[in-house]
Point group: C2
Chain length 154, copies 2
DNA sequence: CACAAACGGTTGCGCACGCAACTGTCTGGA
DNA sequence: TCCAGACAGTTGCGTGCGCAACCGTTTGTG
């Protein structure tokens, strides 16, 4: 792998933010997946649904999709799996019979309670590479980006 | 979507860094994909290969995979597509006949030269939401994370 | 009141993906 | 020198994904 010599604009990937974000997200996701895959046989979409419904009771598939930025079919199938495993329940909404309110079942809450501390520990370990000031700066960047991309208000 | 009431640890997704990173990466990738999909009919893996080979001539599939964190089969197929379209060329290595050195063809270089300014402009637009100081803080965070995850030396 | 358009959610379909197994090549230790 | 194991890259296979089309429901505009 030799240095590039082409005249004209070049793209240094290692400094290109979209590239870095993606690579980082893949890596971090992978690290996390060891927990919920190995320990609880959850796939990524299912884990995300669990986390969302665990936080927001009575959320709908729609809202899970918007919040996680997963395609609605992906959400739909993840919910189907979780229902089959008895981890979440669905109740038809009274006000709008199209939508279904989601909530963790008793078993789901039990799993969620085990999952959360592990996930938080993993996050803590991830961020240990930064000083407090650095962490603050990094998080501020995340805030700005999310706001500018309209991810804030989901 | 009502506030949660469960006793015990809870996970605020909107503040959970792995979640935020992933959502951000998906969104940013999507924004970028508008360029290379619509304009050049490149899929994500192909764009990544183009960008890597564009920067590092004579890189191998192996190195592309390591650098982008894509699975080697994904890289292999992306290279096959790009070769079929005449955008990259392959030469067997003299020193190790297992590996194949990759380089952009003339057509590939032409496309790359068009692609790069668009990608850089997109990145600039993305980062416009931050002040110079904020940008520096954010990038430092990326540096730290990559270093700690072993992504730095690829 | 009616009907078209929008919306929440599901499903059929084709495709790209990851896994594992493979081929061919290189390496290192007995 | 030989052979087992590692490695670069490809491919068959099953699966999960996104797209588009769909169903049933709600909304809003005439």
């Amino acid at each position: 792998m030799t240095a590039r010599s082409t005249r004209g604009a070049s793209l240094r990937l290692s400094g290109f933010v979209p590239f870095r974000l993606n690579r980082l997200a893949v890596e971090v996701s992978h690290h996390l997946s060891v927990i919920y895959r190995g320990r609880f046989a959850l796939e990524i979409p299912e884990w995300r649904v669990m986390a969302t419904v665990g936080q927001y009771q009575d959320s709908t598939a729609q809202q899970v999709a918007a919040s996680t930025r997963m395609h609605k079919t992906r959400v739909s199938r993840a919910i189907a799996h979780l229902r089959k495993r008895g981890l979440i329940e669905r109740l038809a909404s009274r006000s709008d019979r199209r939508e279904m309110h989601l909530r963790l079942s008793r078993a789901g809450r039990r799993m969620y309670a085990q999952l959360v501390p592990l996930a938080l520990a993993r996050e803590r370990a991830l961020l240990e590479c930064m000083s407090v000031a650095e962490r603050r700066g990094f998080v501020t960047g995340l805030d700005r980006l999310e706001e500018s991309l309209g991810l804030r208000k989901l």
